[in-house]
């Protein structure tokens, strides 16, 4: 199994008659469909069309095709595709790739196998049902006759792919469900993997952009001459990027090398009019949200009658009502590869793009800007799809491509735009801020009521009205399956100017913390073990119970801990999967550490078990950073954290040394994997903090050494 990487240097040219060679141009053999090509020698090439940002999908989707095609991964060469409509939709997010493509890609593999089998059956003049396939060879059942795919592919290419091929039984899977090595990793241990920031082409110029600290301020003046006086600087120009309908203006400095561009940028002395944003601060936002939480909110889910029964005494004559607030801040995505783009708009209106994007099919958008008709967009605009150095939702916005395109369109030169780490951290768009008002009503008649009132801006209603409806994305990961008598889940929309965007697990990353913490608060009021309480109250949901039982066993949950240890649990369903974590804490020599995290994942049928484990390990670390490190805070309208010194990431010395991820085996439809491991980590940790120290954490982030 190989992946083919291409030297991007060889692909670009300023000569407009140069045929722009794309990954597809190097594939050898006869194409049976846009995804599968087989050579006469039997080499099977499968295109990896979904952007690879670390989740292993460049191996995952080809593995699904290979399984039904009847070949081994050793026979397959995976080639990273370019962006093209021939592959259908290539945008990626919402832990959606396997969920949405599992069946279509199986069908594609199976129908491709069917035409190869039909070609063999035609040669032997028999019915295809008298044939069987093993490792890329068609056999005539009951005989020694065989024909390898390489000898059938030309005939097979003349046949039409059947629409409803029969699919394999899960029990016959040889690739799906196994731990398979990722071919892209070979280039990721020797520096040869091509990321967007590595794009090279003849005559490349480098750009950096000075940006407004309050994001949407207005440029009043800048000193282009001073920047141009820096040796190597060739141009200075205004550019804009569109963030949910708002234009953010910046001043681009374009130079022969990146250092000259950054030196020129320092001389710009840009003056901004920020007056409109002066009063925005994190404090004012939190105060506004707390006020909104006092209102009724929009109804999302109601069971029983929470408001009616709140505070009603039960048999025995007592009731406890408790309301508390939970808060989570803005966050930056902080992909290790900062935002960047490389674009070459040539004099003749043909374009070459290197798009480190979760949504790379930019041809039509750029065609519109250049007056190219839609039906010529793919011929004239070629889009390379490099590896992404992280995405986490940030790269589903193509603002850096938009900026780079403007510069190149104006200069008609190849431009590489690199955002500095400071730009990347300060400029957003950010993970949403939120406030949660949680209320319980527990009476002596065993009546349990719980209300979760969530206040936050919504992503999909930025720049427009929500029209009294709860936006679809905001209630992710709020578990209404708990068998309580009265449940109420409500939402109040908070509109403000800070742009927000999809951030790994999105509202799962903010909703699960208050929700699963409050489940613990209720369990503790009722003097129940938090894990047993969840099992009991989720009885009607067998998948949840199985996950909890497995976690109980794998984590040795019921073993007594010493006085300097603590444990916490949380279980969350998000993006079609259920994940529970148990977090263990230890206080030693005055220092608190997280020695162990045990995790159980039910994501239904999975493609590559090792990648499910890897994504869950990654989610645990990503979630711990959000829980324990720094918030993005605003003062006078501007973010206050700029780089990894003030916006810190969890490091190896702080990471749990023992992380165990266990997978549930079942026949459920595939769920997401890239995000569902994140939501339960914060509440599992803070529940463990309570268990260790009796301190209830209700505001993130917090310092583990302060407990």
């Amino acid at each position: 199994m190989l992946t083919v990487g291409f030297d991007t240097l060889a692909l670009g040219s300023s000569n407009s008659t140069f045929k722009k060679l794309m990954a597809e141009d190097f594939v050898n053999g006869t194409q049976l469909n846009p995804f599968v090509t087989i050579s006469a020698e039997g080499e099977v090439t499968i295109m990896a069309h979904v952007p690879e940002l670390g989740q292993g999908i460049s191996q995952g989707i080809p593995a699904i095709i290979a399984e039904e095609l009847g070949v081994t991964m050793h026979q397959v060469t995976i080639v990273k595709a370019s962006a093209s409509q021939q592959y259908g939709r290539q945008s990626i997010g919402g832990s959606r790739s396997v969920r949405s493509l599992f069946t279509p890609m199986r069908q594609l593999g199976a129908s491709t196998k069917d035409v190869l089998v039909q070609a063999a059956a035609n040669k032997w003049n028999i019915d295809p049902s008298a044939c069987e396939v093993k490792e890329g060879v068609v056999y005539r059942k009951g005989t020694k006759d065989s024909l390898p795919y390489g000898e059938l592919v030309e005939d097979a290419a003349k046949l039409e792919l059947p629409k409803n091929p029969s699919l394999m039984d899960k029990k016959d899977f040889k690739i799906i469900g196994k731990a398979t090595h990722r071919p892209d990793l070979a280039g990721k241990v020797n520096g040869s993997a091509d990321y967007g920031i590595d794009a090279q082409t003849e005559g490349l110029l480098y750009a950096t952009i000075e940006r407004c600290p309050t994001l949407q301020g207005v440029v009043t003046s800048y000193d282009a001459d001073a920047a141009k006086a820096v040796k190597g600087v060739v141009e200075v120009m205004e550019v804009t990027r569109t963030v949910y309908g708002k234009k953010n203006t910046g001043i681009a400095v374009i130079a022969e090398n990146y250092y000259a561009a950054t030196e020129g940028r320092k001389k710009l002395n840009v003056q901004w009019d920020n007056a409109e944003f002066k009063n925005i601060s994190t404090e004012s936002m939190n105060a506004d949200m707390i006020k909104l939480a006092q209102g009724e909110g929009m109804k999302h889910f109601e069971k029983g009658d929470f408001e009616g029964n709140k505070g009603k005494k039960g048999i025995g004559g007592s009731v406890k009502v408790k309301s508390v607030g939970y808060s989570l801040p803005h966050m930056a995505h902080s992909c290790m590869e900062p935002m960047n783009a490389t674009v070459h708009v040539r004099e003749d209106n043909t374009v070459e793009v290197w798009a480190p994007s979760q949504s790379p099919q930019v041809q039509r958008q750029f065609a519109k800007e250049l007056g190219i008709p839609d039906n010529e967009a793919e011929d004239k605009i070629k889009v390379h799809l490099p590896y992404l150095g992280g995405g986490f939702g940030r790269r589903s916005m193509n603002d850096s491509l938009e900026e780079c395109f403007q510069i190149s369109k104006s200069m008609r030169k190849p431009i590489k735009l690199i955002w500095s780490r400071e730009d990347d951290t300060l400029q957003g768009p950010f993970r949403q801020i939120s406030h949660h008002r949680m209320t319980m009503s527990l009476n002596s008649g065993d009546r349990i009521g719980m209300q979760h009132k969530m206040v936050s801006p919504a992503i999909t209603t930025q720049g427009r009205s929500s029209n009294g409806r709860v936006p679809f994305e905001v209630m992710e990961a709020i578990n209404t399956h708990y068998d309580f008598d009265d449940i109420s889940v409500r939402y109040a929309e908070y509109k403000n100017q800070i742009p927000i965007h999809w951030w790994r697990s999105v509202f799962g990353s903010t909703n699960a913390f208050p929700h699963e913490s409050f489940i613990d608060e209720i369990a503790l009021e009722l003097k129940k073990d938090p894990l047993q309480f969840r099992k009991e109250k989720l009885k009607s949901e067998p998948r949840f119970v199985k996950v909890l039982e497995r976690l109980e066993k794998e984590s040795d949950w019921n073993e007594k801990l010493s006085a300097n240890e603590g444990k916490g649990v949380a279980i969350v369903e998000s993006f079609g999967s259920i994940v529970a974590h148990a977090v263990f804490l230890k206080r030693e020599n005055g220092k608190v550490t997280i020695p162990r995290v045990v995790s159980v994942v039910d994501c239904g049928i999975y493609v590559n078990s090792d990648q499910v484990i890897a994504q869950t390990e990654g989610n645990i670390i990503f979630g711990l950073t959000a829980t324990l490190k720094d918030a993005i805070t605003f003062k006078d309208g501007a973010a206050q954290q700029a780089n990894f010194d003030t916006y810190r990431m969890l490091r190896i010395n702080e990471a749990p040394r023992d992380i165990q991820v266990h997978l549930i085996d079942n026949d459920e439809a595939p769920g997401g994997v890239g995000e569902p491991g994140l939501p339960p980590i914060a509440p599992a940790l803070t529940n463990a903090v309570f268990n260790l120290s009796e301190k209830r954490i209700r505001t993130l982030p917090f310092d583990l050494q302060d407990i």
Binding site: L185, V189, G191, Q200, M336, E337, R421, A614, I621, L650
Partner: protein, 157 residues
């Protein structure tokens, strides 16, 4: 602009650059060795880690003029065929996810193992704490270092 001769991976590169140009950009854009990555520019993340005379350094924070005459090793210089014990271990445990930080991680780890072939977990914490991985592969990086350590010490028996 001045002309500098840089010794990278035992090969001499002649480059034109301003004296204060960070070594990182000379390596990436002049020598065109793009395995070394830009992550923060202030020596906080370690994505730009290379070896300078065998020691791990952050190439984003070293001016090119200060490097002349010294031996630079980048990720591309570790082996021709992924055969360095650290690369092999990284593949064995499937450590990378997005992979962007891994050149720096591998350069820090290989420098550690050169000096200390049998590092403890505390040694690993100390040597690797300067390298951020946003995907969260720390667990596998630790495992891979132990795997590489075993191969190195088995090989030297």
């Amino acid at each position: 602009m001045a002309t500098y001769k840089l010794n990278i991976n035992s090969k001499e590169y002649t480059i034109e650059a301003e004296p204060q140009t960070p070594l990182l950009w000379a390596i990436r854009d002049e020598a065109r060795l793009t395995g070394t990555k830009y992550g923060c520019g202030i020596a906080q993340c370690g994505a730009c880690t290379v070896h300078l005379n065998g020691n791990p350094v952050r190439s984003c924070s070293l001016p090119v003029s200060a490097i002349v005459g010294q031996e630079i090793t980048t990720i591309e210089g570790l082996s021709d065929d992924n055969s360095h014990p650290v690369q092999k271990a990284w593949l064995e445990v499937q450590a990378p996810q997005c992979g962007y930080c891994q050149s720096g991680q591998i350069m820090s780890a290989s420098a550690l193992l050169d000096k200390n072939p049998k590092p403890s977990d505390e040694d690993i914490d100390q040597a690797m704490a300067g390298n951020i991985c946003r995907c969260g592969t720390y667990h596998r990086i630790r495992k891979a270092i132990h795997v590489a350590s075993k191969e190195i010490s088995d090989g030297s028996k």
